[in-house]
């Protein structure tokens, strides 16, 4: 009521957002703490997104291949992983601050957690769903053991692995905002939080737009890579 009476605009006009974006990118309008800082924040966020995402891929893919292929590893790890999986990543926020303190490492950890499960589960699924005939064909052509793994299991699982990477990448960009709410001074998530604290909705929306555009552009890069690596499979082109 008070808001309506005082005529305060909580939702800025597109023009206000455009001005803010211009200032955020090049400065020269408001000349405050956010003017011309887009690259600082974008690079800080991307470092955390890709730190966490690449870590998730580096652990999730090999682990997924092992869990999918080796019954012993599956029996060993599957119960633990299945129990941890339903816990929402945001629920880890307080604990991650205890583990890693207030700062970027906590954000990287959350991004890692968010990207890890889709990558892991899709890799496991990929390995488990390789057509058995391909193993027979490879075996009769003299392929066995570790060569079978490298020459049949890995390429045959690639479509599912890429699917996991793409999903995980999406989650990574979602979680960066949550991760950067934990008191880091830079990053697009912190810009959004600052905008909220300072009651500057134009800044909030600017942060949202930049995250959206950056996430989209990076997703297209993954799709391009996906289409090149999976050029043998028309149904897996994005």
């Amino acid at each position: 009521m008070g808001v309506v009476a005082s005529g305060t605009k909580l939702v800025p006009t597109p023009y206000m957002v455009a001005v803010m974006m211009r200032d955020f990118a090049f400065g020269g309008v408001y000349d405050d703490a956010f003017s011309g800082t887009i690259l600082t924040h974008l690079l800080a966020s991307m470092q955390r997104v890709y730190g966490g995402f690449l870590l998730a891929a580096a652990i999730g893919i090999p682990l997924g291949l092992l869990i999918g292929k080796v019954a012993f590893v599956r029996a060993l790890l599957d119960p633990t992983l299945s129990l941890l999986r339903p816990i929402p990543v945001t629920a880890w926020l307080p604990l991650s601050m205890v583990f890693f303190g207030l700062g970027p490492r906590s954000a990287v950890f959350l991004v890692f957690l968010g990207a890890f499960y889709p990558i892991l589960l899709n890799t496991v699924f990929g390995v488990r769903s390789v057509d058995g005939k391909l193993f027979e064909a490879a075996a009769m052509l003299g392929c066995d053991g570790s060569r079978m793994f490298r020459q049949v299991v890995m390429p045959a699982s690639l479509p599912a692995i890429f699917n996991g990477l793409r999903l995980g990448h999406g989650f990574a960009w979602i979680l960066i905002v949550v991760g950067e709410m934990t008191g880091v001074p830079t990053g697009l998530g912190s810009v959004i939080m600052d905008g909220r604290t300072l009651s500057r909705p134009d800044l909030v929306i600017t942060g949202m737009v930049v995250i959206g555009v950056a996430g989209f552009a990076c997703d297209r890069l993954i799709v391009v890579l996906n289409n090149y690596v999976l050029r043998w499979s028309p149904q897996h082109r994005g």
């Binding site: 005939k133 391909l134 490879a138 075996a139 009769m140 052509l141 003299g142 392929c143 390429p155 043998w232």
Partner: protein
């Protein structure tokens, strides 16, 4: 002097499957010898165990009793001396035709020049030289099966095990591939064991037609086809052989049907 040991010897092989609480006798005391260079067709109604027998010879499945020997050496698993051609091709979808054919040679420690020359030779033999850089999804069914045949030939497999390889193809392509297979067989002198449910196909291709029956799966009769090659499917003597084989194939089936009616 010729080697007097049987080339491929299926010795008293049986296979029982446990499906739920039921035991199914898929193969029952099967004996079969095949000479080097022979073209043998296995025909029979579905469920007679012909595919199971082929998979046991390939080493994909182990028999419940008995064994399979190549020159008296029992087989213990899949091996590059026996190459399987599957009905649904089982080409590696992430490899081009050329790399599919080179897959077997690459498993051995051959020089890259040797791998290349053998790959090109078999690409040429099956008429796929122009399509060497295509992926399997870019090929027709007939071309895929040609690639699959070249893949086992390039692996220097002495025995080709073919499980209804032309079953999924249209009639025209099938005829063409039958001709090509006979040509390849004459050129390479490979031994072929070919599973089909078409009496005509067996009569056209085989030196010997082995008729199998179901329940339990066993060999009903072993028939030498002495028609001269190339064979003409419209010739009277071809027809006589085909009719004779059809009778052998169906007599058992109709006998069983009568029994179950009575």
């Amino acid at each position: 002097m010729a080697d007097r040991r049987p080339f491929l010897h299926v010795r008293d092989v049986g296979k029982t499957f446990q499906i739920g609480s039921e035991r199914v006798d898929a193969l029952h005391h099967v004996d079969l010898t095949i000479d080097k260079g022979e073209f043998v067709c296995l025909i029979g109604a579905s469920g007679c165990g012909k595919s199971t027998l082929l998979r046991i010879i390939a080493g994909f499945e182990t028999p419940s009793y008995g064994d399979v020997r190549v020159y008296d050496a029992p087989i213990t698993g899949p091996g590059s001396d026996r190459g399987m051609v599957f009905q649904d091709y089982a080409l590696f979808p992430w490899m081009t035709v050329r790399n599919n054919i080179a897959f077997g040679p690459r498993q051995k420690s051959l020089s890259s020049a040797e791998i290349r020359s053998s790959t090109e030779k078999y690409l040429e033999m099956v008429g796929l030289a122009k399509f060497a850089d295509r992926y399997p999804y870019q090929l027709s069914g007939g071309m895929k099966q040609r690639a699959a045949i070249a893949r086992v030939l390039a692996n220097e497999a002495g025995i080709l095990l073919m499980d209804e390889p032309f079953g999924a193809l249209d009639a025209l392509t099938r005829e063409q591939l039958q001709d090509e297979l006979l040509e390849i067989w004459a050129r390479t002198q490979v031994t072929i064991l070919f599973v089909t449910h078409s009496v005509e196909e067996a009569t056209l291709l085989a030196d010997r037609v082995v008729v199998m029956t179901a329940g339990p799966g066993r060999i009903e009769s072993d028939n030498r086809v002495s028609l001269t090659r190339p064979r003409d499917v419209s010739a009277p003597d071809f027809n006589a052989v085909r009719r004779n084989l059809t009778e052998k194939l169906t007599s058992h089936v109709s006998r069983r049907r009568l029994k179950s009616v009575a």
